[in-house]
């Protein structure tokens, strides 16, 4: 692991050897990722581009055309409209969580302990 030192005016100097081996050039943008207990630099472009290319090439021309059409539609949505798509079912989930019921009768949950629980007994907890 390399340790970098913050220089005056908050500049961070990446050692020339690391820049070379990572293919970094002056002017390149390097994402700084904010994990919960650390900051780290990650040279992600190549891996991300490879992933995208691999997926795109795996599709037929017709599928690529349809994928572009679908992308046009999705990208035309506002952030709120996209949030609504991905939040479908949240209200029902909240209701399910708040339902007032006997805790030993959990509705649509599947119980696997019945196969090991002695007949006629109920779990506690």
């Amino acid at each position: 692991m390399e340790t970098l030192t913050i220089e005056a005016e908050s500049n961070l100097i990446i050692p020339a050897e690391i820049s070379r081996s990572s293919g970094l050039r002056p002017g390149d943008e390097v994402p700084l990722h904010d994990a919960t207990d650390r900051l780290f630099l990650f040279i992600e472009d190549l891996e991300a581009r490879a992933a995208a290319q691999e997926w795109w090439n795996s599709m037929s021309e017709e599928d690529q055309r349809l994928a572009r059409e679908e992308a046009e539609w999705y990208e035309s949505l506002s952030e709120e409209e996209r949030d609504a798509i991905w939040n479908e079912g949240n209200e029902e989930l909240e209701k399910w969580l708040d339902e007032d019921d006997d805790e030993d009768d959990e509705g649509d949950e599947f119980d696997i302990s019945t196969i090991t629980r002695p007949a006629g007994t109920r779990p506690v907890g």
Binding site: L39, E106, R117
Partner: protein
């Protein structure tokens, strides 16, 4: 605060991707199809998703996430649905999610975290997820900040249950950036 180039190399065997991660993987591909650069969050999510697959980590998503993906365009959604197994709600999942609510988690965050402990594979076997990967920094930070108390509550709950529930362990909750740093 550490600034590091070199990730650590401890990989879990079973990981639950929360809905936000699935969404960003989906959106990464939409951006590619549009010839637009993906956002940092979309890129992080995609790379974590790929790396976990390549390293043979068993991936899971929740039933709710799978339901949403099944209604989305298959060209973008099917990879996630194929690569990640869908968990169903196991017994005591709701009970644990309710307990988690008392630690300040939103209903959705409480349920996804509870899936990690009480989610079932094929309605019959506990998945025993080790790590939940999320884009939600608030969820990850809240979990980490209160982990000792959450773990204590979890142990007290499962210790009163029969096998196999009594041997369950609490998962870790990490962000995609955390996962990127450790894969």
């Amino acid at each position: 605060m550490n600034l590091t180039f070199q990730p650590s190399h401890v990989l879990p065997a079973r990981v639950l991707l929360d809905k936000g991660v699935a969404r960003r993987v989906y959106e990464f591909r939409v951006r590619v199809a549009k010839n637009l650069p993906p956002t940092q969050l979309q890129t992080e999510s995609m790379i974590v998703f790929r790396r976990l697959i390549h390293r043979a980590v068993q991936l899971y998503i929740t039933t709710e996430c799978a339901n949403i993906l099944q209604r989305r365009q298959p060209r973008y959604a099917k990879t996630i649905l194929i690569r990640a197994e869908t968990l169903s709600k196991g017994r005591y999942l709701r009970r644990w999610a309710r307990r988690l609510r008392s630690f300040g988690f939103s209903p959705e965050d409480a349920v996804v975290t509870a899936y990690a402990s009480f989610g079932l594979i094929s309605h019959s076997q506990i998945a025993r997820v080790e790590v939940v990967v999320t884009n939600d920094l608030r969820l990850a930070k809240n979990f980490k900040a209160q982990k000792a108390n959450i773990e204590d509550r979890f142990k007290r709950m499962v210790s009163n249950l029969l096998d196999p529930y009594s041997s369950l362990k609490l998962p870790e909750v990490v962000t995609t950036a955390d996962a990127l740093a450790s894969t």
